[in-house]
Amino acid sequence: MKHGLRLVGLSVCITLLCGCAAPRDYTQYYEHFPQSILVIPPLNESTDIRATYSVLSTMTRPLAERGYYVFPVAVVDQFLQENGLPTPGEMHQIPLDKVDRIIGADAVLYVTINDYGTKYLVVDSSTQVSLTARLVDVKTGIQLWSGHAVYSESSSGGGNNIIAAMIAAALNQVIADTTDQAHSAAEEASAQLISRSGHPMLNGPYHPEFKADWK
């Protein structure tokens, strides 16, 4: 009986924890406000092997424009690889005290790519990039913020004429291969994740409106 009660207690706790992640509670963020952010190369759950570095290269701009110092992503990636962490999966496991001592970042942004790529459905194509991210304070390990963004774009071929539609789809495919629609979608998804969602990151210290978004 006692045991049963405890289980009930536990499940209530878990529900509360999940509940806490979603509301716009910035208390910890205010308290451990980061000046500098280290972006670890994203974990890739999509089937496109290019996703990690495509998304990694799109993170610096929105974060810097939001007002943070962003460590040079490619340099850090190279540095971690040379120091025994060859994959994003291993980099995501790096202990925070090491990040503090070796890199000196205030916070780490862990990004997971849930979806990345273009799908073709006979005459239509749809490009989707879906990202989930967590910002963690390096000194305490406390999660300061988390966010999710999905960007999708579909293009369909010409109306009723099936031949025209098929030609359009074929052309789209050619264009997609050369200009890389998925990468453009990643740029949009990253910007959305950092600053355009309903639950964005707060303006950082270099932003002219730093602290203007504090409530």
Binding site: Q35, T60, R61, E65, Y68, F71, A74, V76, G104, D106
Partner: protein, 102 residues
């Protein structure tokens, strides 16, 4: 808010584009070409009276290092640190490594 809007905090030039191309091997230009492009970007930023973004000087330093131009690499890491003191721990580490390099 958007990187390309007039309210942009930084003059971006080719930095993030180069990072993408580097990994996807889309960029046919050599490391020398990338260096030239970023050096130009930093100069252009100055002439426009806008700051160059965080990381670009450190990235340049990394490219100089690849070319064996260790003095230029050190100068670039120092420039990153002076522009953005947040990078000091990492830049000092790189500068220290360069000093060990014969």
């Amino acid at each position: 808010m958007g990187g390309c809007s007039s309210s942009s905090l930084y003059y971006w030039g080719h930095y993030d584009e180069q990072v993408y191309q580097m990994y996807n091997e889309l960029d046919p230009s050599s490391v020398e070409g990338q260096v030239e492009q970023l050096e130009n970007d930093v100069r252009k930023a100055q002439s426009k009276g806008m700051p160059a973004p965080p990381g670009v000087r450190a990235h340049l330093g990394f490219l100089y290092y690849k070319l064996g131009k260790y003095d230029s690499a050190r100068d670039a890491f120092i420039a990153e640190k002076e522009t953005f003191p947040e990078s000091s721990v990492l830049m000092d580490r790189f500068i220290g490594k360069l000093e060990e390099t014969p």
